[in-house]
């Protein structure tokens, strides 16, 4: 027999977790004691929020749920912003928090906080483990839920006394849940309708969202785009789905997007949303979308379809599977008329940036940066002007552009960069503002202590 704390560590090993990010405290001590005896590497962050962001960076590179850890009360509460940030961007994550002893739960004990209740609006699911025997089942389910369907953060809250109970360790091999069955395959009838609509469209447009990365569908997506010869725009989360300098890519749409992308969005007669939810920043007047065009919406989360824009052809399913299916049926590529038209707009909107004596033009700097970095570099943007400069001027090639799209959380870039680097990314560069840098500069300690070769660029404009 082993303790629940030891079982928790074994569960992580079984899930092939090699690195975790966290911060200890009394209520999570039994788990930490067990963790020291494992080969799992623990990165001690300088504030729990950064453990969450680092896990986010790790998960976004590996495509698998990553783990962060905090103690009860203040530790867990410090994680909240990171959990919500991950939830908004559908990042798979398992959060482990210590809780006060079972018999004290509900008594306003020292360092007690209802983290389940507090995080309920922005966790995909959460557990408080009251029955020690359930620990392995809870871990198995947590990883399964976090990493399947529309990914998201799952929280496991374990009271301190439970961590010390001895149990028989037995990790389930399979996990089936009658109430949770994410739909992995798009409906064949709907796929057929979509292909017909594409065939009949004069000015089709693909809008790439973060779902392309989440379903690991970059290859299938590229094949689809090239086969159909359809222009592509992206949301902020979809940047990099096609290389930014691809002739079919016309930039980011929306409030902070670029003109060619927004013109394409306005003038298209068929909009194909791929793993994008058409949020308020991406589509400012969703009600007008349906007036001028048909919409095909492919997403794994049925609740996103019809939420912001109506879909004429909704397809619920995993993007990778659906695109494979579509690629096997796509017929002839579209002619170049519509693309040539957009090319012209793109050519006419290239403005020459002004240079000021003694200042560096940030856009020019970002463009230069794109040329200097490795082709597979991971760029992590923060929030603010620096983020928009990156989104519109950085040239993603084979690498990634990571940012906090949905929540716009300042202080994201450095800890997320740490996570991306720990996940094995070749070259990671965090770009932040001078304001956001000061929200996360404690992580320089983490970076120094662990010798993490992360590059940091601070875009100093002396203002927020």
């Amino acid at each position: 027999m082993i303790t629940v704390a030891q079982a928790m560590v074994r569960c992580l090993e079984r899930e092939n977790i090699s690195v975790v990010f966290g911060y200890p405290g009394a209520a999570i001590c039994p788990f930490y004691d067990a963790l020291t005896k494992s080969d799992i590497k623990h990165i001690l962050v300088r504030q729990e929020q950064n453990a969450g962001h680092s896990a986010s960076g790790f998960a976004r590179i590996t495509g698998k749920p990553a783990v962060c850890i905090a103690t009860s009360g203040p530790g867990a509460l410090n994680l909240i912003t990171a959990i919500a940030t991950a939830y908004m961007d559908s990042i798979p994550m398992v959060i482990i928090t210590g809780q006060v002893s079972s018999e004290r739960v509900g008594s306003d004990a020292f360092q007690e906080a209802d983290i389940i209740g507090a995080s309920e609006p922005f966790t995909k699911y959460s557990y408080i483990v009251k029955n020690p025997k359930e620990i392995t089942k809870v871990f198995k389910q947590a990883f399964y839920i976090a990493g399947t369907g529309r990914p998201g953060p799952v929280l496991i809250d374990v009271p301190m006394d439970v961590q010390n109970v001895k149990i028989d360790y037995n990790y389930p091999d399979e996990m089936k849940m009658r109430s949770y069955n994410p739909n992995m395959k798009g409906h064949p009838g709907q796929i057929k309708r979509a292909l017909t609509a594409i065939k009949n469209a004069k000015r089709p447009l693909i809008c790439a969202g973060g779902g392309i990365f989440l379903s690991n569908a970059k290859e299938e997506f590229t094949e689809f785009v090239k086969k159909c010869n359809i222009p592509v725009v992206s949301t902020m989360m979809g940047i990099g789905a096609l290389p930014s300098d691809d002739s079919l890519y016309f930039g980011m749409i929306g409030m902070h997007g670029v003109k060619p992308a927004n013109v394409a969005l306005m003038e298209s007669d068929l909009l194909i949303l791929l793993g994008a939810r058409a949020s308020d920043r991406a589509v400012c007047a969703p009600e007008r979308v349906n007036e001028t065009k048909k919409v095909i919406h492919i997403d794994i989360d049925p609740a996103e379809i019809g939420k912001n824009v109506d879909a004429d052809i909704p397809i619920v399913g995993d993007l990778k599977n659906t695109l494979i299916e579509m690629n096997s049926k796509v017929c002839s590529p579209k002619d170049n008329e519509w693309i040539n038209y957009l090319d012209e707009i793109r050519a006419n909107t290239q403005v020459k940036e002004k240079e000021f004596e003694g200042y560096i033009n940030p856009k020019a700097f970002i463009r230069l940066l794109s040329e200097k970095v490795d082709d597979d570099a991971v760029i992590v943007g923060d929030v603010g002007q620096n983020q928009i400069w990156l989104a519109n001027n950085y040239n993603v090639k084979q690498g990634r552009f990571l940012t906090s799209g949905g929540m716009g959380t300042m202080g994201y870039s450095i800890p997320t960069g740490v996570g991306a680097k720990m996940a094995g990314a070749n070259q990671v560069i965090s770009v932040c503002g001078d304001g956001s840098f000061q929200m996360q500069m404690m992580e320089l300690g983490t970076i120094a202590q662990n010798n993490i070769p992360l590059k940091i660029i601070v875009m100093t404009n002396n203002r927020l």
Binding site: G117, K124, I145, M177, R178, S179, A303
Partner: protein, 162 residues
């Protein structure tokens, strides 16, 4: 427009708070919510009466379905549904008007479940409309207290949502 939504959920602690949290968070208006265990003790059935247009109710359904603990969900059509609500109502009475109140209760096919020299408690299980009729009829006598369970509903015929 009122809609009746039936939901089968895993019978866990915390499920109800997830569901009610979702309603308040997303600004959905619920008129009533009733919950109880089913024939399968691991499953509970929730009946929600929600007020909203088609878009809102579709969103309610989809967001509810997204909850991990929700097993099945169905919007029930009024004409294909039997719905009932239970109400207990305590009215003040005197020896003079007691007979009138008992008559009303009888006409409304409700039950007297408690009686004292100064009050009568009536139990009615019926549609929400009929509950409200009884309530109006009793109002002149002085309603002391009312408690209602919220509507529960099943589809007519041999259909089931499971």
């Amino acid at each position: 427009m009122k809609h009746t939504i039936s939901i089968l959920v895993e019978n866990h602690a915390g499920v109800l708070s997830r569901i009610s949290g979702l309603f308040s968070r997303r600004g959905f208006n619920i008129d009533s919510l009733a919950v109880g265990i089913t024939d399968d003790p691991t499953m509970s059935r929730i009946t929600i009466i929600v007020n909203g247009d088609d878009y809102t109710v579709e969103q309610v359904e989809k967001q509810l379905y997204k909850l991990i603990d929700v097993y099945k969900i169905k919007r029930l059509k009024v004409e294909e549904t039997i719905s009932r609500e239970l109400m207990l109502v305590k009215v003040s009475c005197t020896s003079e008007n007691r007979g009138d109140i008992i008559d009303i209760a009888r006409v409304m096919q409700s039950k007297i479940c408690d009686i004292s020299s100064e009050s009568i408690t009536i139990e009615i299980s019926d549609t929400t409309d009929r509950l409200e009729i009884l309530q109006e009829l009793l109002r002149p006598y002085g309603i002391l207290e009312i408690v209602r369970t919220g509507t529960i509903a099943l589809q007519k015929g041999n259909k089931s949502i499971c």
